[in-house]
């Protein structure tokens, strides 16, 4: 089955415009995290050794596993859109559900990771943390803020995808109207890209 082309120009609907708007929103999100990356690079520059020590306390395998989860969820997301454009409705919904499931799995791992750290007394302003070197305090401060902000975005993404799934069930998203799903996909890929940078910067500091 061939893929339905998106509408190019129509009085009531402008798919390219909708996509452009979404991309502009993504730019703003990139700079939102960009601000945090500026702070990260400043403090890593000033506290290179401390950052290295602190990084060793993170579970590399868990971080790597989570990276693979998100990357796979990006695959299922992209495939879900491709499926709906080919009219393969059932496949599209299954792939979308897989994306949501992978997102939830990611969050569960993150929660587990955070929980373990907090149990060990490593969290912002904790007495244990404050006895450590300044660089380590900063590392963990940045760790919690950046992965927390990212996790919040994953959660929001999951909710959005849940909404898209509902729309697909009601046939409001289908072969000829799929731009909301496509835009949600863009958001999901953004979340993946941010993690692609967070992962080496927090887990792989040698």
């Amino acid at each position: 089955m061939g893929e339905a082309k998106e509408l190019v120009s129509d009085e009531a609907r402008d798919d390219t415009g909708a996509r452009l708007g979404m991309w502009l929103f993504i730019l703003s999100e990139l700079l939102l995290f960009g601000g945090m990356f500026i702070l990260y690079s400043a403090y890593r520059y000033k506290n290179a050794v401390d950052f290295h020590h602190a990084s060793m306390e993170l579970e590399v395998l868990l971080g790597t596993f989570n990276t693979l989860i998100l990357v796979t969820s990006s695959l299922s997301m992209a495939a879900s859109i491709a499926a709906v454009r080919r009219g393969q409705r059932r496949l599209s919904m299954v792939l979308l559900m897989a994306t949501i499931a992978l997102g939830l799995f990611f969050l569960a791992n993150k929660g587990f990771e955070w929980g373990a750290k907090i149990e060990h007394g490593i969290y912002p302003n904790s007495p244990t943390l404050l006895t450590r070197a300044k660089g380590e305090v900063l590392f963990f401060g940045l760790y919690y803020v950046m992965t927390g902000l990212h996790g919040l975005h994953v959660l929001v993404g999951i909710c959005i995808l849940g909404g898209m799934l509902t729309l697909m069930i009601k046939d409001k998203i289908n072969r000829t109207r799929f731009v909301p799903l496509e835009n949600s996909g863009l958001y999901w890929h953004l979340v993946d890209i941010i993690w692609i940078f967070l992962y080496p910067l927090f887990y792989l500091i040698t």
């Binding site: 415009g17 708007g21 929103f25 700079l31 601000g35 305090v137 900063l138 401060g141 803020v145």
Partner: protein
């Protein structure tokens, strides 16, 4: 009045005021999807917030009329100047022109029926109102309003016991509103231009809003995250700006100014766009150097994003950064100067028509030039050491923001009033108000330039007796300025209800908004126009009818 052109259709369509859409009454306004109604919703609140900012300023000047305490305690004074800054900057100057006139006129000027995302436009307004409400809450709850200055510098903002979290959260919400407006207007400009409306035929107001919108999209997120971090620091002690935990307060300043300097270009570019649109109409002459003005706006947006460190010359920043930022600051003056030259060149040998919109633009050119030149003085490193944190700085930025953006805004009020409301204000009263405002403004802010030069520190509640005469003059000037403002607004308000019915094109403008009725119909155009000439092609206009 200049001869007008026949309107679009023989049978006038009802104006957008009479087409409420899905809802009735107040809901037809606060749930509207019409960009013109949304523009007016912003209009009402921007003016209301402007008034409250002026009242705060009035009391600040009243306190400063003499050394020592006069009518308030020092803590109150600190809160007043903080609130004055927050309200004026985040609720008035940054949003005003894009949300009021950008929303109302950009779609019409490009030949569209509305913006690209009408629902997001409504959401932007609701975020604006919510952000304002949250800031208002910070004034009246808890331990009282913020006292850090609108700049919320760490570490004081991390420690002061007043309502910082609410205030910064409000700023964050306002930032979201700004980003959404920006992306809406960029998409609209790219996607909804009428046939024949090429980039080179866009009114310069559209170019200005376009450049501004890019800055809104790209710079605002940085202050967004900075405000979030202040919030998190206060509640969770994260440590990123706290020296006790290894944080660097100068990094806070970097993050803050990375947005807040480009924010000043969000403020001024739209006003420059208004001047670029108004001057040709009242000189009856094509703008001199159209592409130079269009591209200089983009250049200001770009280079203006590289100069933020000039707010930090004495903060402890490295000498190397100081040199770099000073050099870049001098560079950004160039595209601004290009605009000033081109406006003046447009007036030269033009057929000048003296009307209030032009007068406000002329005041803009004069006051903005003073502001810009003082900016160069403080942008040089050695003078900055003496001038930083003195009255020179607020004097400079009031020349630019109030003298520049403010007068540009007032020009827009007087230019587009007949189009938005279908009525005209009283011309002579507007001119009288303008004269009074100019006198008051310069008495006020020039005194402040002198005070700063003499060493009077800013944000100080008290001062040495030697500064008294200039403070007195400044306060006196502020009263004259406020009198002028009152007359101006009263005149406009009266015109709203009792003004003469306005023609569709009272000024003889060649941009698209003047080819439709005053006020416009709900859908703007009966049929989407096919554009065949440029925005300042007055010859074509004469030939057309």
């Amino acid at each position: 009045m200049i001869a007008t052109r026949p309107t679009e259709s023989v049978h006038p369509k009802p104006s957008f005021y009479h087409e409420p859409g899905r809802y009735r009454g107040i809901l037809s306004w606060i749930l509207t999807l019409d960009h013109k109604r949304i523009g007016l919703l912003y209009f009402i609140f921007v003016i209301a917030f402007f008034f409250s900012g002026v009242v705060l300023g009035f009391f600040m000047r009243l306190e400063m009329i003499a050394p020592g305490g006069a009518i308030m305690k020092p803590q109150t004074y600190n809160s007043l100047f903080t609130l004055h800054g927050i309200i004026m900057i985040f609720l008035v100057v940054i949003p005003a022109i894009p949300t009021v006139f950008g929303n109302f006129f950009l779609p019409i000027q490009i030949g569209a029926r509305d913006v690209a995302f009408p629902r997001i436009n409504l959401l932007s307004w609701w975020l604006y109102i919510s952000g304002a409400a949250i800031v208002a809450l910070s004034v009246f709850t808890g331990q009282g309003p913020p006292d850090t200055g609108w700049t919320f510098y760490a570490p004081y903002s991390l420690r002061t016991t007043v309502n910082i979290p609410l205030a910064v959260f409000g700023v964050f919400i306002l930032g979201m509103s700004s980003i959404l407006t920006g992306l809406n207007l960029v998409t609209t400009t790219h996607r909804l231009r009428a046939p024949g409306m090429t980039w080179r035929r866009l009114p310069l107001f559209v170019w200005a809003i376009y450049a501004t919108s890019w800055v809104q999209i790209l710079a605002t997120p940085v202050i967004g995250i900075t405000m979030v971090l202040i919030f998190l620091e206060r509640f969770f002690g994260v440590g990123v700006f706290d020296p006790a935990k290894g944080g660097d307060p100068i990094l806070y300043q970097h993050m803050f100014w990375i947005y807040s300097h480009p924010a000043t270009y969000i403020m001024i570019l739209p006003a420059m766009g208004i001047v670029s649109d108004v001057v040709p109409v009242f000189a009856r002459k094509k703008i001199f150097g159209y592409m130079a003005i269009a591209l200089s706006g983009m250049a200001i947006a770009a280079v203006g994003s590289l100069v933020w460190g000039h707010h930090m010359f004495v903060s402890g920043q490295s000498d190397f950064a100081n040199l770099l930022f000073s050099l870049l600051t001098f560079l950004v003056a160039v595209p601004s100067a290009i605009k000033v030259f081109n406006w003046v060149a447009t007036l030269h040998k033009g057929s000048i028509v003296i009307e209030p919109p032009l007068l406000f633009c002329l005041a803009f050119i004069f006051l903005f030039s003073i502001g810009g030149l003082t900016g160069l003085i403080q942008g040089a490193l050695a003078p900055n050491v003496h001038l930083h944190d003195t009255y020179w700085i607020p004097a400079h930025f009031h020349y630019i923001i109030f003298g520049g953006m403010g007068f540009g805004l007032f020009a827009a009020f007087h230019y587009w009033f007949p189009k938005m409301f279908g009525r005209m204000y009283h011309r002579k009263t507007a001119i009288v108000a303008w004269v009074i405002m100019l006198i008051g403004f310069n008495l006020f802010y020039f005194s402040m330039l002198l005070l700063g030069w003499e060493g009077m520190p800013r944000r100080y509640y008290d001062y040495l007796p030697q500064f008294r005469p200039l403070h007195l003059t400044a306060t006196f000037g502020s009263w004259i300025l406020i009198a002028g403002l009152i007359i101006m607004f009263a005149n406009l308000f009266r015109g709203l209800f009792k003004g003469e019915r306005a023609a569709d094109n009272p000024w003889g403008g060649a941009t698209l908004e003047w080819q439709i009725s005053s006020p416009p119909p709900a859908e703007n155009f009966e049929t989407i126009p096919v554009v065949r000439h440029g925005p300042y092609d007055f010859e074509e206009l004469k030939r057309d009818g």
